[in-house]
Structure formats: C-alpha cells, structure tokens
Symmetry: C2
Subunit: 342 residues, 2 copies
C-alpha cells in the first residue's frame, strides 16, 4: 500500500526523502479540541477506548489539525492485561487502578493468553477498520502495544507507581513465575499485534515505558528475549521500539528485528549513533518541554535536531506531549519539520 | 580528625583499605524501629527536622542497628527553599507542597540568599553539634543538601511532579530569571554547606535528584556551572555528587571538584569507569529492590558488585532504601560488605 503522504513508510524502505517524517506521541489527546469534545461525551476513558467510531475520530483529528505524517490508533496499552483477565479502571488524576492485580503465583496460570485474548479485543480491531476507512489513502496508520515488562509491572503492582517496587520485588522473589508471566504476555501481544496488522495497521510501535526501572542485567534477562520474539514473529511491517530510559541496554539491541529505535530526550542521538551506527533509524527525541518555548526557538531547535541527527530519523518527542501544551506550538514543530530540506 | 571506624575517610585519602566502606541512603528512616518511635512522637516531619535531640537520635540509630560505616545527618533538602523564603509542608503520602511557590520572575529578587539564610537554619547547625557529641569519636558524619536544579524544580513547581513540566517550562520561557534563581540557590547552598562543615560534618553529599529531567544540553547550561562553583568554594572535605539519572552528562564532570560520584542502579559501573577512569571513586549502585531477594542472593550480589567495581568504591544503594524493606536484609548487605576482603 502506498499513501498520498507515504513519507513515514519511505524512511523505512530506505527511499530517498527530502525531509524526515514527523508525528507526535499522544498527538490524539487533550491538546486537541475534537478530542476534548469526544472525551466529555463519554462516561470515561474506558468507554472511549471501546467505541470504534469515536476512536476513529480521535485518531484522524491530528492528521487534519496538526498535519502530522501518520495517524496512531487511539488506544491504551492496558487493553492486554484486561483481555488476559486482569481488569483495570482509569481514575481521573490517579491513573490506572486494577481490581485484581496478580498477588499470587497461582493466578498466572489462569490468565487467558495468546489467541485466547483476541475475542476480548474485537473492539480494537473494529476501530482499526473504521479508522482505515476514514483515513482512506491519505496516510499510514500506526498501531501500538505495551512491551511485556511494562504490562507485567502494572499487572503485579496493581497501579502506577513511582518505584514499581512490588513488581521489581517479584522479579527477585519469584523469577520463574516472572518468566511464566512474561511469556504469557508475550504470546498475547504476538496474537494481538498480528491481528492489528491484518486489520490495517501499517507500522507497529512497542512502548516499554517502565524499562527505566530495571538494571541492565535484568533488562537483558527478563525483557530482551521476549521483545525479540515479538519482533521476530510479526509479519514484515516497520516496527518501532521505545524502551524508555533503557539507554544502558542499547548495545544489546543489535540484531533485534525492530526497524526504528525511539529514544527519550535524555538520551543523546550521538550516543545511539555510536552504539548502533548511522543506519539505525532513530525516532524522537525532542524534549516535550521545548514546546513551551517561543515559536522561533522551537523552529530553530527542530532544525538543529535534524541537522545533528541526519538521515534515518523520524522526528517525534522524547515522550508523549504534555497535556497543557499549546496546540499552536505543536504545529510549529510539525511545520518546521515539513519545511526542512536535507 | 580520625575516627575509630575511619574507613569512609580512608577511601578518600587513598589509604590502603581491606574492604570498601558502606552506608545506605535513607538509612535513618522508616526501616528502623527507633525512627518510627521518634516520628510518631512529633506532630509531623517538619517538627522532627527542627528538633536537634531527635535528629541526633535518628542519625545515630543506623550506626548501632545496621552497623554502617558512617552516619548521615537526618534532614531534608527543602530546608534551603524554606530558609530562602519559599515555605513548604510535607503531606503524608503526597510529599512536599509549597505555600508560595515562585510564580513570577519578580519573586526571585526578594528571596533571602547566601549568608542571609544562615539564621533560619540554626536548628540544623545545632543538630550537627548534638549529633557530633553523641557519635563522639566513633564514625564520620555526612551532611547533605539538594543541588541547585533539584531545589529550583521544587520552588517553581510547588510540589513533587512526575514531569516537573512547570519548572522545565521556566527554563525555556525565562532563561535569564532561571539563571538568577540558580545563582541565589547556589549562594545559599555554599553558605549553608560551609557552616555544616564548620559545625562538624566530615563529608558532604549533594543530591541532584531531578537531574534526570533535563537534556544533556540543559544540564550543561543550567546545572554544571553552579554545581562546580559549590564544590570549588567549599573547604577541603570529601565531597560526593549524586546527579540521579544524569548519565549522559558524565563526560562533562571531568575536572569538577567532587571526590566521589554516586550513581543509580540503572547506570552500570563499567560505563562510569569508561568515562571517568579507574581512579574515580564510585558510590552506589545496588538496586534497592535487591533487598527483597533472599539473604544468600543479596550477599552474593554484593560480593559480585565489589569484585566488578574494584577499589575506589563506596558501597551504597542506587537510591534511598524503600520504606517497606526488611531491616534484616539491609543488615545482610552491610555485613556482606564488612566481611569482604580485597
């Protein structure tokens, strides 16, 4: 499939492009007027996540309002724990809270896993089809999921946490059970992402948001094998890996089957280039707080970022856009990329 | 001054020692029975921080109960903002909340700074004298402070935060005022730490807990010059610098006048050795969650850590000990260090 604006797929196929592609993590969200309207029309975040027509609307809005090069299907990483049998709710200003987090090793063997989760996720697949139809041939659509460790951390911890010390305790106290849970999550993710691709996602991004909690040794032991398996078992679409804060593990990523490495704003692009070479496609890594600066400063910082990083770059923030960001400033960033020429 | 247990000072003077020294960040705190008793006898955390006799008791307890090699004066990094005129309270389970955070550039020029803060901090200096008397000639006493950026972050943000986006916004929007505030904090810290040393602290540790929020370029521009000045202007006592998460700035630390670099558990010691050489004294960096493991595993991980790091090491955690840690496991860590021989 080739889209009218195909630049995101072109960067992966190695085609000559005149500027880097750009999209913004959390581009579909509270910075946009349509999203706020949609959000206030539903009972809560979870109702929104399960409403295919609203999902399509939220997903498409940034293409129109911000002019980004790709859409990313509005969803939540926690749909997987829920489909496996560990249900959650999103509490305003608190974040996710789970009704039945994993509190004993025995619970792990009773979770749904692999293709068993698919019937529970039909609303996601429907959302893709509706969204695909609305976008038509204009832009590619990214689908995402949380990486095994990040989902594991929520399932054990039972909520967000500054330290995720309960989840990290589990790695030390119950390493075998931890591997069994990582394995079950991995199988579920593979089934889920395969189906997302089948239904119309052109690119897959895996978020390991809590990678930064682990030591290098733990990341190697408990995370990389599972992430490798996911990328290997998925069909041939471009794959983006965002292991937030896992800078010390970057050298272990050589040979993994992802195509782009997304990095946070605290990881210099020069460091990644040193570790993985000039051909590694980097996504990121603009400081989300830069969008608080004056438009001229945003523009010049974005141009400087592209000059410094060179080709093999997808411009994005180093984290999701902060909710109180001025939408016009996001547009300044996007426009600055679109007017750049290599 | 030489203490009965002088091993922490010996590592700084380069004396031949048979094992590394060990102490634990937040060793005086909720893991200890005496601390819990003291804490429940006062109205709140702030009353405790201002009670020299109780401070002495809390500071000395870990020497006796855990057998660590040094005491660290129980205190809070936020005594400096308060002395400068930005008052706070500690709310149970929420953390610090400020009454009058900095909301306009004009406020900055009305803050107390430099030696003006000293009369407001007399309770700290008294605590040092009482503590010094109780410890007598047994062990050295560490005094600490928050680094300028970390204090700046609280003073602007007005509370803890997952993103400190308001403080980071200030750096982009008001860079000149940001430098003025960093300068005022720096002058206050220099006066404060000089007096802490005068009154009996043998070692100084500077915590930059929110270093990890900034880009490499920001850390270089807004933080390193101020931290350098603090270390340069203090008298000749051993100085420890803990810039949590500032791994990408490590190469910029060459030539700064600190003696030991404290690192978090996500920063491999091999990385620091590569950047700063084998002679750099490293403090850390054991995963605080390791203390949830079985005693035998803790012991072997500690021994492996010392073998891997070699000499020029102060064993500590990579972060403060988690409050729900089993005290006996902390003792296993301390004992494992004390039985080790190079």
């Amino acid at each position: 499939m080739t889209y009218h604006n195909n630049i995101l797929l072109d960067v992966f196929s190695g085609d000559e492009i005149s500027r880097p592609p750009v999209w913004i993590m959390r581009q579909a969200g509270r910075i946009l007027p349509g999203y706020k309207r949609i959000r206030s029309a539903v009972s809560g975040f979870k109702e929104l996540v399960k409403s295919p027509d609203l999902i399509a609307e939220a997903t498409v809005e940034p293409l129109e309002v911000l002019g980004v090069d790709a859409a990313i299907l509005f969803s939540d990483i926690l749909v997987i724990p829920e489909a496996m049998g560990v249900d959650y709710d999103i509490i305003e200003k608190t974040g996710p809270v789970f009704d039945n987090p994993i509190r004993s090793v025995g619970q792990i063997d009773h979770l749904r896993k692999g293709e068993e989760v698919l019937p529970k996720l039909d609303y996601v697949f429907q959302s893709i089809e509706v969204t695909r139809e609305v976008i038509a041939h204009r832009n590619p659509l990214i689908g995402f999921a949380g990486a095994p460790w990040t989902l594991f951390a929520y399932m054990i911890e039972g909520s967000g946490s500054k330290t995720f010390s309960r989840a990290r305790k589990f790695l030390y106290e119950e390493p075998d059970a931890a591997h069994r849970l990582m394995d079950a999550i991995t199988e579920s993710l593979i089934a889920y992402l395969k189906e997302k691709i089948n239904r119309g996602c052109d690119v897959i991004q895996l978020f390991d948001s809590w990678a930064e909690m682990l030591t290098e040794a733990q990341y190697k032991q408990f995370c990389i094998p599972y992430i490798s398996r996911i990328f290997e078992e998925l069909p041939e679409v471009p794959k983006i890996f965002f292991p937030k804060g896992a800078w010390s593990s970057i050298s272990h990523f050589k040979g993994m089957a992802f195509d782009a490495l997304s990095i946070d704003w605290k990881t210099p692009v020069t460091y990644v280039r040193e570790q993985l070479g000039a051909n590694q496609i980097i996504q990121g890594n603009i400081d989300p707080a830069l969008l608080y600066a004056r438009p001229m400063e945003i523009e010049s910082a974005v141009h400087e970022h592209i000059r410094l990083t060179g080709r093999n770059l997808i411009v994005n923030l180093g984290h999701g856009v902060y909710p109180n960001t001025n939408r016009e400033h996001v547009k300044v960033l996007v426009d600055a990329v679109k007017e750049y020429r290599y």
